[in-house]
């Protein structure tokens, strides 16, 4: 790994919410032009990590460098300039509900560029073509299925030709067909547009299929990382449990609680 190819570098990051430590001194590097997956069980703060990288949340300690710039020390103006080069795909799509698909994709172009309407139209149609939804441009967000909304959001995220895209749980709640479409789309976009992709997901099989490198996070720590093959063959019990979806293992099925019998009898004792 040469340092020059690192586009995002998270160093000794600690972040807490209330008394709960979400991240405890984690470090990770994301290579340019690759698809990097960050996996872990629900509730491990994967989305939080993306928000920290995007500068929406500030860590308690540690630093995040994107393209060599320390995200949390940038002025507001410079942070916004940097964000124009970072796309983010939210789980819900986060489309603006008061405009149709076309205007949603045109939105960042209209806000950030002085392009004339015919230029914007060409660009919007190109982006919609890339996600296969050029024909849906007149629809309103409430008329879209979840998978379509995510593809539109993806078209919007690539509207300004960013250097990287962060995907927040792109596969959750998708039927097999739109899932396959999305998986392929992410891979294709990454190669054709020379993007860097960060996928946050707990969907092991599909994510591992397109990822070049995988980090697995649990309880605020990185418990495993490597290429998909390395992860597959990892000796860590934890990684094995997660990758093969075993109900019990180092991660317990039960949320911490007093013993079952005590709990059941607690009412009578009082």
């Amino acid at each position: 790994m040469s340092l020059n190819n690192t586009i995002v570098s998270v160093q000794n990051l600690t972040f807490s919410r209330g008394n709960r430590k979400i991240f405890d001194d984690i470090s990770l590097d994301i290579q340019q032009g690759k698809v990097t997956a960050i996996m872990g069980p629900s509730g491990t703060g994967k989305t939080t990590l993306l928000k920290i990288i995007g500068g929406q949340l500030s860590p308690a300690s540690g630093s995040v460098f994107v393209n060599g710039q320390n995200v949390h020390q940038l002025s507001r103006k410079n942070l916004y300039t940097l964000r124009k080069r970072m796309g983010m795909l939210f789980q819900s799509g986060a489309l603006l509900t008061d405009m149709n698909v076309y205007d949603n994709v045109a939105f960042p172009l209209r806000e950030h560029t002085d392009l004339n309407e015919s230029m914007i139209r060409t660009l919007v149609l190109m982006k919609l073509q890339a996600v296969g939804l050029r024909g849906a441009r007149e629809l309103m967000p409430n008329e879209l299925s979840g998978g379509m909304a995510r593809r539109i959001a993806l078209a919007r995220a690539i509207a300004l030709d960013p250097m990287m895209i962060m995907y927040d749980e792109p596969f959750t709640g998708q039927d097999p067909i739109s899932m396959a479409a999305l998986v392929q789309l992410i891979k294709t976009l990454n190669t054709t547009l020379n993007l860097t992709s960060i996928i946050v997901s707990h969907d092991v099989k599909d994510t591992a299929a397109i990822a070049d490198y995988i980090y697995i996070i649990s309880h605020g720590k990185i418990v495993g990382h490597g290429s998909p093959e390395e992860i597959e063959n990892s000796k860590s019990e934890w990684v094995q449990q997660f990758m093969h979806g075993k109900a019990d293992g180092p991660v317990h099925f039960h949320y911490p609680a007093p013993t079952y019998i005590d709990d059941l009898l607690a009412f009578d004792k009082n």
């Binding site: 928000k51 995007g54 929406q56 916004y80 300039t81 964000r83 124009k84 970072m86 796309g87 983010m88 939210f90 789980q91 819900s92 986060a94 489309l95 603006l96 509900t97 939105f107 960042p108 806000e111 950030h112 959001a153 919007r156 300004l160």
Partner: protein, 260 residues
């Protein structure tokens, strides 16, 4: 006892923290005004949804309030044989008090709650976050135009409310109960002062417009991003706006008409 004090302390701290957040929010939204002035089409869309769509409610309410004033006023004034003064009574009570206050209360219920719910839901569905990640400041793009729209709409709606009210009073007093039309208008004209009555009423409505828009937008922006959070925030908008309107109305009246 200690528990009670702890609770009280917590509540106080929470209120002050919220006051701080809302002041910071106000500062940020005011800083966005120049950006909105450059793009007036953002404002016109909001003026429509905040102002024009409240038009019907304000007109009908103004008409009925004026009609009730005409009726009640007539019964009282005719006891003293002073029913020619009906026009003055209706107009003064509308322009000074009822116009600004009732229009503001209605506006808070109609437009304020809608603003809170809209912003709150935009937050809950990550639209605000999404905008931020597209390097677009949601306060400037979403909040400031709505604030200006509320601030501009309410004084105009108040003027409409009072005017329609005067017509409502006329409808009942003159057309139905037979008060002399000439004295209805001429006494009103002679007694109402442009500065003391009309301008003071306008100042009130400007203050109310500012405060309602601020409360409504802040509650939406500060809402907990869940269905329950947005519903609570909407309720708080209406309740807090009502308190603010009535409290400020007293203070403003004391300042304007009292000899303090």
């Amino acid at each position: 006892m200690i528990d009670l004090l702890t609770q009280l302390g917590k509540k106080t701290r929470y209120s002050f923290a919220k006051l701080g957040r809302s002041s910071f929010f106000l500062q940020q939204l005011l800083m966005g005004i120049t950006d909105v002035l450059v793009r007036p089409q953002l404002l016109s869309k909001q003026l429509y949804s905040v102002g024009v769509l409240s038009f019907f409610l304000i007109t009908i309410s103004g008409l009925f309030v004026g009609m009730v004033l005409g009726l009640q006023g007539y019964y009282i004034l005719s006891n003293f044989g002073a029913d020619e003064a009906l026009g003055v009574m209706v107009a003064t009570s509308l322009v000074r008090e009822l116009g600004p206050v009732v229009a503001a209360l209605l506006f808070a219920g109609r437009a304020g709650s809608a603003l809170t719910a809209e912003i709150g839901l935009m937050k809950a569905t990550e639209q605000l976050s999404g905008m931020e990640m597209m390097a677009i400041d949601p306060i400037k793009r979403i909040v400031t135009p709505r604030f200006l729209a509320g601030f501009i709409s309410l004084p105009l709606l108040t003027a409409l409310f009072s005017s329609v009210g005067v017509l409502g009073g006329h409808l009942i007093g003159v057309s139905l109960l037979g008060v002399d039309e000439g004295s209805y208008w001429s006494q009103m004209q002679a007694s109402l002062d442009v500065y003391d009555d009309i301008l003071n009423g306008v100042i009130k409505s400007i203050v109310f417009g500012f405060v309602i828009s601020w409360i409504a937008l802040f509650e939406g922006y500060d809402a907990i991003p869940t269905s329950e959070g947005v519903s609570c925030a909407t309720t708080r908008t209406v309740v807090n706006s009502a308190f603010a309107i009535l409290g400020l109305d007293f203070i403003l009246t004391a300042l304007m008409f009292g000899d303090i």
